[in-house]
């Protein structure tokens, strides 16, 4: 269709602007302007009650000092990284494995899909509460499981084996791993469904050709499945990194950053500084540091997993 200036095209343009107007207005008002405003605020001191005062790069300098002296923001960076490294590789691998299991052409796939997707659909607050209860040191199911395990091992090994009940969320060393396990459990279904869609788009005849060529299951995975899943993997990785950097609700509900700041994450710091300490300027600066981090990481991810458009036909 030639790009002329006929009446049809002008009519289209007019309708286009009309159709875009409400959406764009809201976007402009509640996304674009706040981002610009947040950027401005990150150079100010602001506690809502008094008007913002310009302080230049002092907030960013404070962040820099904090990082070099290993202060709280540094801790939140470290904890967020720990969370990301704990949840992303394991989560993605498990999701892929599950998707491949489900792709094997079994009956009853929708029942399994529902049960694996259930944790994703339920509210994060609700599952955080349930897992808090599971992790309860005195009455939680997990410590009970440990007791059953010790009794079982004692029987099998013929001598007394005692696995003491753990503090889980109350122990600075165990709190973050505990949150990580819960988060993997929660996010599994989502990534699994995406992988499933990706797997089902790989044409069967490629596998058949590989089998004819004498390729075993591992070979088939390496030369057919994995390369053709690259775009899916890229998508999941980028989305997962963005999500992990922004983790908040579980931490807020389960440990509120403790014990001893062992689980405080970047967004938790932003939230605390903005709404508990009323340091909006500082919080905005932290938010932009987070944004810069996510942006760089996303670029790296996309570059790493480029070249997934393999044509085997």
């Amino acid at each position: 269709m030639p790009e002329g200036r006929g009446p049809v095209l002008q009519g289209q343009a007019r309708t286009a602007y009309l159709f875009l107007a409400p959406g764009l207005a809201l976007f402009f008002l509640f996304v674009l302007i706040p981002v610009i405003a947040a950027f401005y605020l990150s150079f100010c001191r602001y506690d809502i009650i008094h008007p913002p005062t310009w302080i230049g790069i002092k907030n960013y300098a404070r962040i820099w000092t904090d990082i070099s002296k290993q202060g709280i923001f540094y801790l939140s960076l470290r904890n967020t990284a720990q969370y990301a490294i704990g949840t992303i590789p394991v989560g993605m691998a498990l999701a892929l494995a599950l998707a491949m299991l489900l792709n094997a052409g079994l009956r009853g796939i929708s029942i399994y899909r529902t049960s694996y997707y259930l944790p994703v659909v339920t509210s994060l607050v609700a599952v955080s509460m349930v897992w808090m209860w599971l992790y309860d040191p005195s009455y939680g199911l997990l410590n009970y499981g440990l007791e059953v395990l010790s009794r079982g091992l004692s029987l099998v090994l013929g001598r007394e084996v005692v696995i003491p009940p753990q503090a889980w969320l109350g122990d600075p060393g165990q709190a973050m791993p505990a949150i990580i396990v819960m988060s993997i459990w929660r996010g599994l279904g989502y990534n699994m469904v995406i992988y499933l869609a990706g797997l089902q788009s790989i044409p069967d005849h490629l596998y058949e050709a590989a089998i004819i060529d004498g390729a075993g299951p591992w070979q088939r995975f390496r030369s057919v499945t994995w390369p053709l899943l690259k775009p899916t993997t890229a998508f999941i990785l980028v989305v997962s990194v963005i999500g992990a950097s922004q983790v908040f609700a579980q931490v807020y509900v389960m440990t509120n950053g403790g014990p001893n700041n062992a689980t405080t994450v970047i967004v938790h710091q932003i939230f605390q500084n903005a709404f508990s300490f009323m340091k909006m300027g500082y919080a905005s600066a932290m938010a932009f540091v987070l944004f810069a981090l996510i942006f760089v990481l996303s670029l790296i991810n996309l570059r790493l997993l480029r070249g997934g458009e393999v044509e085997y036909a």
Partner: protein, 288 residues
Amino acid sequence: MRPGLAKQSLLHLLLAVGGLTMILPFLWMLSTSLKPESEIFRFPPVLVPNTWDWANYVEAMKAAAFGRYFINTIIYAVAVTATNLLFCSMAAYAFARLRFRGRNPLFILVLGTMMIPPQVTMVPVFIMLKRWPLVGGNDLLGVGGHGLLNSYTGLVLPMAVGAFGIFLLRQFFMTLPSELEDAARIDGCSEAGIYWRIILPLSKPALATVGIFTFTAAWNQFIWPLLIMSKDSMKTLQVGLQVFQTQYTTTWDLLMAATVVLTVPVLVIFMFGQRYFTRGIALSGMKG
């Protein structure tokens, strides 16, 4: 290519064990919600309680204004879903089918907003709502009152349009044959008419997907309502759950009962809309 019987049984076993692990926390939640107080703090814990204390549910709902919270959450979720469906589909239609200057850069800009962590905009939006002039006790300069905080408008408006809906619907609209629109145009149908009478009816699966995703997300949202609503009568369900958690103790049986009640609507919607979900995820075109 259905695998042999032995392999099938093995796969079923693995999937079933995994599936049970997925469900176990929910079973635990259900079991705790039905336990009388005496049985909760029992060690070793029991999965199936001796007596089923249905009174927990009644007590839980009375512990805070959950009826009120329920209404607030419904209003929020329905409003956000409706505005998203309407405005996102309109914008998506413009991006997918109409030609105008700046179409591609604008779309990329919209997509880019998906990458901005909401925490970046959280603080300014909060301030913007608080200083909204001429509402909530504010004067012309937006000083003096609480503006749009603690109001439905303030809660819904910033969430009324999302890049996700625009993206998904645009991808879907692009798959519809353009011959239909050309024919309609030749017949003298306006662009708006094409949108309303042709595109929308054909897009039911995509619209259902966006609707379900948006509703679920809004229903489950925590941090946003937490921020905007400080008045108890305006809180949503997720925020209201916190009433069971004090600084010193947590009333687990009531908390679990409330959590079960909270989860049921989402579960129902999910079970009915399940096929749209997974189709919708595949629709958004992850292949590059």
